[in-house]
């Protein structure tokens, strides 16, 4: 079928003699129209100047949101440069997404297993996410994304410092919440059995489908340092003029230090983990 481009593809043209979004198949039955008074916006013609300005903004926005997935590895140099240019906007507007759902292939899941040691020598183990502990399902998924995010850092050599910081943050949460003395964390990978294995009787939760890598053991000293700095930040909120309240305190200092120069490879690597 050849699409008609010279005429509007709708039954009841609206103002300006053209179709609007979603009106391509039939005109409204109970709907009035034109330039009558009523609620909402008026459908008066848009001036050339406004049209031009809005068009520029639309093009910039569309290029920006397309650059985020295009800059994911493997990415072309133009895509990387365009993405680097728009990244502040994409980050701030929460539009920096790759949209690679189940791509390139549905892979194994990742969980965090932890061992908590208490003052009396007792050791408690657990795993998150866990559907029975995190309810409702949306809460489970948000916890699930935490452990999946740890894996995204774990598989990237350049992200090991970030992985350590993330693990330390997880440990801090667990130790404070359970009043534990120390926490040892593991990144647990849950492989998906092949159809053949399942036909032969393997269960999805079979032990041989799990593999782990240690994320570290975190002592009270690690956590104490963090807590003290967090309390200082909140307690001394009056004297943090250099810290933007819209960004994590340490991030603001980094942003200031890095402003004015483009570090393309690092920026792109970092961009990977935020999507």
């Amino acid at each position: 079928m050849i699409a008609r481009t010279s005429e509007p593809d709708c039954d009841e043209p609206v103002a300006g003699g053209s179709c609007a979004a979603g009106q391509a198949d039939s005109g409204p039955r109970l709907v009035g129209g034109g330039n009558q008074s009523g609620g909402g916006d008026r459908s008066k013609p848009v001036s050339r100047g406004v049209r031009s300005a809005v068009s520029v903004l639309l093009v910039l926005h569309l290029v920006a949101i397309a650059s985020a997935p295009l800059a994911m590895e493997p990415a072309s140099l133009p895509a990387q440069k365009v993405f680097a240019f728009f990244r502040p906007y994409l980050d701030a507007a929460f539009l920096n997404h790759g949209y690679h759902f189940f791509a390139p292939e549905p892979g194994p899941s990742h969980l965090i297993r932890y061992e908590l040691t208490f003052a009396d020598g007792r050791v408690e183990t657990g795993v998150f996410p866990h559907p029975a502990e995190q309810k409702p399902r949306l809460n489970y998924h948000r916890h699930f994304m935490l452990s999946e995010f740890a894996n995204r850092l774990a598989v990237d050599d350049s992200q090991q410092p970030a992985l350590h910081e993330l693990s330390r943050s997880f440990a801090q949460h667990l130790m404070r919440e359970r009043h534990a003395e120390s926490a040892t964390l593991f990144l647990r990978r849950h492989y998906i059995p092949s159809p053949q294995q399942v036909r032969e009787g393997m269960m999805l939760e079979a032990d041989e489908l799990y593999a782990e890598r240690p994320l570290g053991t975190f002592s009270p000293e690690d956590v104490r340092g963090l807590v003290e700095s967090a309390e200082q930040q909140f307690a001394s909120s009056d004297d943090r003029p250099e810290t933007s309240p819209l960004m994590p305190p340490h991030q603001t200092q980094n942003a200031v230090r890095l402003s004015g120069r483009l570090q393309l490879p690092d920026a792109l690597q970092a961009g990977e983990v935020t999507r």
Binding site: A21, G22, S43, H61, A93, P195, Q251, N254
Partner: protein, 352 residues
Amino acid sequence: MIGRYFRGLADATMAGWNRFWFSAADPAPLAGIRIAIGMLLVYSHAVWALNSDDFFGANAWLNSDAVSAIQADGNLLSALWWADGSPTLIAVAHGVAILNALLLTFGLWSRVAAPVAFLLTASFANRNPAALYGFDQVLGFVTLYLCVNPGHGWLSVDYWREFRRRQKYAGRQSVATSLIVVAQPSVSANIATRLIQLHLCLIYLVAGLAKLKGAAWWSGVAFWGTIGNLEYQTLDITWLVDWPIIVSLLTMSALAWEISYTALIWNRWTRPLVLAFAVAIHAGIAVCFGMMTFGLSMIVANVAFVSPALIRSLAQRWDVDPWAVELKKISAGQVRKEPGHLPVGVALHQRP
């Protein structure tokens, strides 16, 4: 001759661009999206609030050091850093977010509620950049586009208040001036709808093309990778292991739909099929893989492609459109029509 070709090309492109973006559109699809996304926002913020300590407390899963480290030199702005570590301020933020989402749902002060909803959605998300998934992303871009036009021109308290206000003064006016259109098409409604449509096309195209890098999608076994994933599973359909042909067909059809969505959604004949497939796929993901919120949000975003006439006819059938209800009463003779006057709120097809 070549010059004429390029002049014609430029003229046609400009005309097409203007027609695509700057026509006036019925706000009915946006109104539906606003109501549904508003309800999903209420739910999302309620779940954030129920687990506030885990994500926003002094001992959250992600402390400020972790967020700084994982975003490197990013710019994840979040108003919630103001309240970092203060349970009272965080509680206020949750309360404001839920209340604002309710305002957006009901269409009260929508012009303010929509930007506030977007800012809060981005703030909550950027505070927890490692705890997000597709649902949060959909909420983010849809609320952003609702800032352009929140669909308050229909099924909203805002519009109802204006309707009542005009009704009050109608008796003093002539027929022509007392006429209120049932829906006011607008350019901003068109732009907002177009942005949602194009963003959806981008999502499906990228998701589809990225899958082409995976052998499992080419060999038709990728669907098994989701069926056999215990962490996602909410409905056990591993019995499909004995039906590899079905697994293959589901894999290939999902991939074909995702890649072709961007092209076929614009054609009036293929659009209903593409949308029906979208509903089936997202409902399947919601039920089988526990992503109810993501599935619902994607289905809601797809409403941007639904005909306003269809939405209005459904609303009329279910009596949820107050203007259509009014019209029915008039048709049934339940409302006395004064000589020389049309009841306010009934525009029908008449135009001055």
